[in-house]
Symmetry: C2
């Protein structure tokens, strides 16, 4: 069966997020002053062939650890729908 | 009150996703053959100052429409936690 697994990769809380800062500036120039902080990461949709949800999540965890996220700068979060 | 609103921006289904294709190749080189498709988009966390959830979502929708997503190539999805 094919499962859709979602991996969210975000910059670590303590690190600067220059892309987020740039977007923040853009939003303020547009007059959207109610938005006080922006952080930008990646959203990755994986189609995983597996026999169970747990197996699909395990495959996505391996992918996230080995390739999708850089643990020095990012945290990841795997969910399945 | 400060609400955390999440905006997911993904490339349109019918468009090529070169970043996803590249990661797909990388995963296959690592031997992760159970993953059959990869699509990569952006995940944006906004901190929004608003009086209600609806107001926070509305502000995020405006931000997504005006700046965060390019409607020619991307779809966006706003959720609040």
């Amino acid at each position: 069966m094919i499962y859709t697994v979602q991996v969210k990769v975000m910059p670590l809380k303590d690190l600067l997020d220059p892309q987020g800062k740039a977007v923040m500036g853009g939003l303020q120039n547009l007059g959207l002053n109610t938005i006080t902080d922006v952080r930008i990461g990646k959203h990755i949709d994986l189609q995983v062939e597996a026999n169970s949800k747990d197996e699909a999540i395990a495959a996505a965890e391996v992918a996230a650890k080995k390739l999708l996220a850089n643990p020095v700068m990012e945290v990841y979060d795997v969910t399945i729908s």
